[in-house]
Symmetry: C2
Subunit: 320 residues, 2 copies
């Protein structure tokens, strides 16, 4: 079962968004920037944010001519944050392709991110709804604060697990929450609806990121498109590791890894898997998924609601 | 004669904006980001963009409670671009202070820029005017494209002088143009007014940047707050250098400088001064200033108009 099958009825609209995203980015066709952005766009990705926007809009007055701008804007903001992430994480590979910072350099990556964000804002201005802009700009600030926290917390083995949850909220959950909510707001849905969709997206996003962080330990390099254990190698301490750090000698091992003994990663991954930490983290992801589904239950029945339900289960429980 | 004297009647409003800018940035008081942003804010600067916004608003229905948001947003966008500039130019000093990238690192600088931009967007959303948002987001895209061009053109002695003008348009003139225009738009001024103010700001911005580029050759380190010849040392070829490159052997000298022989800078500066290039560049700056004043002439008489006129002359003809 592929994710795309779940939202097959949106296929036409998603293809259109895909095409217009390329156009939005290629506008400036002489520049390195659009070459760099285009590579990132064509590397793919789940396009989960545009899908969530469209589904949110189904709760109101769905008009693809209007809502496509919000869907594209959210995907572009996500892309911009990926480009800046790669600078901060010093990542050379993303989705099996060289990152912009690897292919060009950090400076090009920084401005490519800025450019993509700018294009995203341009698209959003086609939505004549001030509330939508407020929601979005607040989310951008929070995403940036999340990134800065991530820099600060890197390689810090003394940090509290609460900092992890706050970080993934800002880094991932918020933008997914806002995708659902903005779809509904831009389509004129009631506050009682778009506020629930915010919380649905928030819980799904938390579940999704925890699953992602688990997969970094349990999947193969082939499945991930980057080496397993990448998060830890980059100094990012994720939920399974927080639990694993309760085991004797784990901290010493990770300290040595952080000190440069990178070949320890295989042994550490095995130890994390044996420690029961993956199961503990999975339970937390499931808990967030349950919360998401409960919020969704409160909404009136519809095809969009069913689709949200199935996507949430899919991405919360995916195995790679 | 100090610049601030020219707009003394705006002093109360500018002080208020200064104070609220600090508040906007300090909101997140636990973070490195606000420490970094605050340092940049307190290092000062001419605040020419907020002043231009306020003056633009005087052509419409001036309400400081409303217009302050636009004024702050423009200053923050400018600040964000400075922070990202310092990463790209690898600058360690700005306004006599260590830059964010020097004091922390490039990653912190990148996200500090993102954060400041995000805060700026938050403030703009207080303006319920979709046209204002369109104008601004378009300007952000152009500013980013200008920065990327600057990276691409660095150290390139074969580039055309037209690329210089396009670069300073995107890098400086556009944001000043938009400051004047958005002040007027947000205050509900007529299109015939705010479009003229755009062009006024554009020409002033061109004149301002050319003057800035001249001063990099003619001022002392003490006056500039950074070493003279910094632009060239960073590989940025500005108008006086374009003209100087027409002299015999100048290209060879600059190539050697670019190849690492940095102590050549003093001799190059002297040669540029002797070549008549400063005078040629000054004429171009004056030409833009004249254009700015002509556009201004078409507007109805007012105190704001007079002030624009005096500021334009001041910053176009300043000696440091």
């Amino acid at each position: 079962m592929k994710l795309q099958m779940i939202y097959a009825f949106l296929h036409g609209d998603i293809s259109r968004i895909e095409k217009e995203l390329e156009e939005a980015i290629e506008k400036e066709n002489t520049s390195i920037i659009s070459e760099a952005s285009l590579q990132l766009l064509q590397a793919g990705g789940k396009r989960i944010r545009p899908v969530f926007v469209l589904l949110g809009a189904k709760f109101g007055d769905y008009d693809i001519e209007n809502i496509k701008n919000v869907a594209m804007a959210l995907e572009l903001i996500h892309m911009a944050s990926l480009v800046h992430d790669d600078v901060v994480d010093d990542s050379d590979v993303r989705r099996g392709q060289p990152t912009i910072k690897a292919k060009w350099d950090n400076r090009i990556a920084m401005y490519t991110g800025d450019y993509i964000l700018g294009r995203s804002l341009e698209l959003m201005t086609k939505i004549p709804n001030v509330e939508a802009h407020k929601v979005l700009s607040h989310a951008i600030v929070e995403v940036c604060l999340g990134e800065i926290e991530q820099i600060k917390d890197k390689y810090d083995l003394e940090q509290n697990v609460r900092t992890y949850f706050r970080r993934i909220k800002r880094k991932t959950a918020l933008l997914i929450a806002v995708s659902c909510q903005l779809g509904a707001i831009a389509a004129g849905a009631d506050k009682s609806i778009h506020e629930r969709l915010y919380w649905f997206g928030y819980y799904v996003g938390m579940s999704f990121q925890i699953t992602d962080d688990i997969l970094d330990f349990t999947s193969s390099e082939k499945q991930l498109g980057k080496p397993a254990g990448s998060d830890l190698l980059q100094g990012n301490i994720t939920l399974p590791m927080f639990y694993a750090l309760e085991m004797p000698e784990m901290k010493e091992q990770v300290e040595k890894l952080f000190a440069g003994e990178h070949d320890r990663i295989t042994a550490i991954i095995e130890d994390v898997k044996r420690s029961g930490s993956i199961e503990k983290a999975t339970k937390v992801s499931d808990l967030y998924l349950d919360k998401a589904l409960s919020v969704l239950d409160e909404l009136p029945p519809s095809k969009a609601k069913n689709t949200y339900n199935r996507i949430a289960k899919f991405i919360g429980k995916r195995k790679f």
